[in-house]
């Protein structure tokens, strides 16, 4: 378990409505600082400059999907150590398992409850080494 509380989150998501809800949930309910990235192709640069505690990735995105972005992050020295949580409407059990073996910290399925989202993230955070 990391020795500091979960505070800074980068969220990569193309759907503006969901961006707004997640931002509101994490900021208002979870009292966290959120940086939302709409374009997955610029995500690595944004994440590198924001320096989050944890990154949340959407699965289905038009330019580059979540799993691909995740693999890119793993190859980048500055982002490879960041814990990544997938948030998705689609993934099957098998896909989830595969992501977890690739090194994802956790998965959250859509639709999620914005009331509970900060607690879900903190629970994943607490389980990290």
């Amino acid at each position: 378990m990391p020795d500091r509380p979960l505070q800074r989150i980068s969220y990569v998501e193309d759907d503006e409505d969901i961006q707004r809800i997640v931002r509101m949930s994490l900021e208002r309910v979870g009292k966290m600082t959120v940086d939302v990235v709409s374009d997955s192709t610029t995500a690595i640069a944004r994440i590198t400059s924001f320096k989050p505690d944890l990154v949340m990735l959407d699965w289905m995105m038009p330019a580059m999907d979540g799993p691909t972005l995740f693999r890119h992050m793993k190859q980048n020295q500055e982002t490879s150590a960041l814990p990544v949580v997938f948030i998705t409407a689609k993934a099957t059990h098998k896909d989830m398992e595969e992501l977890l073996t690739l090194g994802a910290a956790g998965t959250i399925s859509k639709p999620f409850s914005p009331k509970d989202l900060p607690d879900q993230l903190r629970a994943i955070w607490a389980k990290l080494p």
């Binding site: 759907d15 409505d17 969901i18 809800i21 509101m24 949930s25 208002r28 309910v29 289905m60 409407a89 689609k90 059990h93 098998k94 859509k110 639709p111 999620f112 409850s113 914005p114 009331k115």
Partner: protein, 586 residues
């Protein structure tokens, strides 16, 4: 398909050959054989009557010179009467349309006739032998011997008849010879029974030969009729088979052991776009993609060797026009009773459209999953944030409406999830994540999870008695889904303030979890379809209390996937017990 039938039938099983050659005569109809014998006996009558008349006239002429002319005339009269009666018998027989059935009667009359004829000759021996001189006696003895021997061919078809005829001649003759007082005659009298015995023995043998002949004739006739009938049946079933194949909506190909096409049906022509003539005589590889030819050769060789039929072989086959179709093949080697492979029947069903439909359904399900859930995430999420008070207090009327909106958004989401679940279960794509679960822990967890739901309907969930600590091997998440369905149903249908009780018990190695409600019970008419899809006893209940009508259908499928069963019983004093059983983990 005729070659098939021929291939099978041209080779007789060894057992059948043995049975056929055993004794074909046994197969003859005894009534027909008897009719043949009677026919043969009567057919000899005119000849016999002619011979009797000629012999009788010569005898009367020779014997007339004695003193007993009246006696000769009397004897001649008797003989004429016997011949006349035989003539009438012959005509009567010939004119009887049912003579082949009344064989017993005609045989009896002829027997009497034979004895009478013999007796007339015996009378001649008894009366004329003692009263004549030497030469006439020799004549008479010769005559009687001739008449007796003549009876053998006459009565060859019935040795007892000949025996009666011959005995009627021989007995009186033996008697007069024995009592004549002459030593030579006495010695002849001793020889006559021997002669009689030998004649009867010959007649007996002859009778056997005749009988055997008749039986053979009828057995072969019968065999012939049966063979014709069998041939007719084979031809009929051959035509039927050919029709089955020809009119079948699936492609049927008959191949030889080398994989060369022998015959194809119309559906095969349509499916692959070749005329029958373009397929017959060529290798079946014509409708296999070239890159799969080595696979085809290997599979074919294995099939020819093992003669194992196969089904459900999915192959992409090229058509004449260059397009391809995906076929589901059933391949059946035909083996004759000797164990030789004589042909291979391949039946192909075009499943191209079916596969496309399956692909589209999958795509639709995936779209449903993503495209519906994403906007719902925004809708429910927004409403939840408002209703949770995160954004501060809202006007009471607004709050009421946003709660309605959230609840219905949730309902829509439940419905989508349920449809996806059913689809996943029915397409066999639901993978269970089995683990060993303690039943009491599962029940407590489900009660905790559904407490909020119970509160909404002012219903409490409570275990009755001690919960069992036994274990089951099941999917925790899916089992909780089942429990949630049962508990929420019980809460929805119980009156406010009631307690829903949960029990655990073991019945014959099965662990049973029961949910006891105080609801109105299940209407009789609804009982049989309660576990069906989109079924609710009262559709107004759906609007009032929510629910998709898929819950119990999903529960049933999930429990059965985990080798259990689900059901319900009436509860004493009103209400219903819904239960499910799972095998206890050893």
């Amino acid at each position: 398909m005729n070659t098939l039938a021929n291939g099978i039938d041209s080779v007789e099983p060894a057992a059948r050959v043995a049975a056929l050659t055993a004794d074909i005569r046994e197969r003859a109809d005894p009534a027909q054989v008897r009719a043949d014998r009677v026919e043969q006996l009567y057919s000899q009558l005119p000849l016999g009557m002619g011979a009797t008349v000629v012999t009788g006239v010569i005898a009367a002429w020779e014997l007339r010179e004695g003193r007993l002319i009246e006696l000769v005339l009397f004897w001649g009269g008797l003989l004429a009467l016997v011949v006349l009666l035989h003539g009438m018998l012959y005509l009567g027989y010939r004119n009887d349309a049912r003579r082949h059935e009344n064989t017993g009667q005609w045989l009896r009359w002829l027997g009497i006739g034979a004895f009478a004829a013999g007796a007339v000759w015996g009378f001649a021996a008894a009366v004329f032998f003692p009263s004549h001189a030497d030469e006439r006696q020799v004549f008479l003895a010769f005559l009687l011997a001739g008449v007796l021997s003549g009876g053998i061919p006459m009565y060859a078809a019935s040795w007892p008849m000949f025996a009666a005829y011959a005995a009627a001649i021989a007995l009186p003759f033996t008697y007069v010879l024995a009592t004549f007082g002459n030593r030579l005659f006495a010695e002849i009298a001793l020889l006559i029974p021997l002669f009689f015995g030998a004649s009867v023995a010959i007649a007996f043998r002859l009778n056997g030969v005749f009988l055997s002949g008749y039986r053979l004739r009828h057995a072969y006739q019968r065999q012939l009729v049966e063979l014709q009938e069998a041939r007719r049946q084979i031809e009929a079933s051959g035509r039927k088979l050919a029709l089955f194949a020809e009119r079948a909506p699936i492609a049927v190909l008959e191949l030889d052991t080398d994989g060369v096409v022998h015959e194809v049906n119309h559906a095969a022509e349509l499916l692959f776009g070749y005329a029958a003539g373009e397929l017959v005589g060529k290798s079946a590889k014509q409708i296999v993609l070239p890159k799969y030819h080595p696979d085809f050769d290997r599979e074919w060789a294995a099939m020819v060797k093992s003669r194992t039929p196969s089904a459900g072989v999915k192959v992409r086959n090229p058509r004449r026009d260059g397009l391809t179709v995906v076929c589901d093949w059933t391949v059946t080697p035909l083996v004759n009773p000797e164990g030789h492979l004589i042909a291979v029947i391949a039946q192909g069903r075009d499943i191209t459209a079916q596969l496309e439909a399956e692909r589209m359904k999958k795509e639709f399900t995936s779209t449903l999953s993503h495209e519906l859930r994403t906007p719902l995430t925004s809708i429910i999420g927004s409403l939840q944030l408002i209703n949770a008070g995160v954004l501060g207090d809202v006007n009471k009327d607004v709050a009421e409406l946003t709660e309605v909106a959230e609840r219905n958004g949730q309902r829509l989401l439940d419905l989508i999830n349920d449809i996806l679940d059913i689809e996943k279960i029915e397409s066999g794509k639901l993978a269970l994540n089995r683990e060993v679960i303690r039943v009491d822990e599962l029940v407590r967890e489900s009660m905790l999870l559904n407490k909020g739901f119970g509160d909404r309907f002012h219903v409490r969930f409570e275990p009755r008695g001690e919960l069992l600590t036994y274990e089951v091997n099941a999917d925790r998440k899916r089992l909780l889904q089942v429990m949630t369905n049962l508990l929420s149903n019980a809460a929805k249908f119980s009156p406010e303030g009631e307690v829903v009780e949960i029990t655990t018990e073991e019945i014959n190695g099965q662990l049973r979890v029961g949910v006891h409600d105080k609801g109105p019970g299940i209407p009789e008419a609804f009982r049989s379809r309660i576990f069906g899809r989109f079924n609710q006893a009262d559709s107004t209940a759906t609007r009032q209390k929510g629910g998709t009508g898929l819950g119990l259908a999903i529960c049933k499928r999930l429990v059965e996937l985990m080798q259990g069963r689900i059901g319900f019983d009436d509860r004493d004093g009103g209400g219903t017990i819904f239960w499910f059983e799972l095998p206890r983990h050893a």
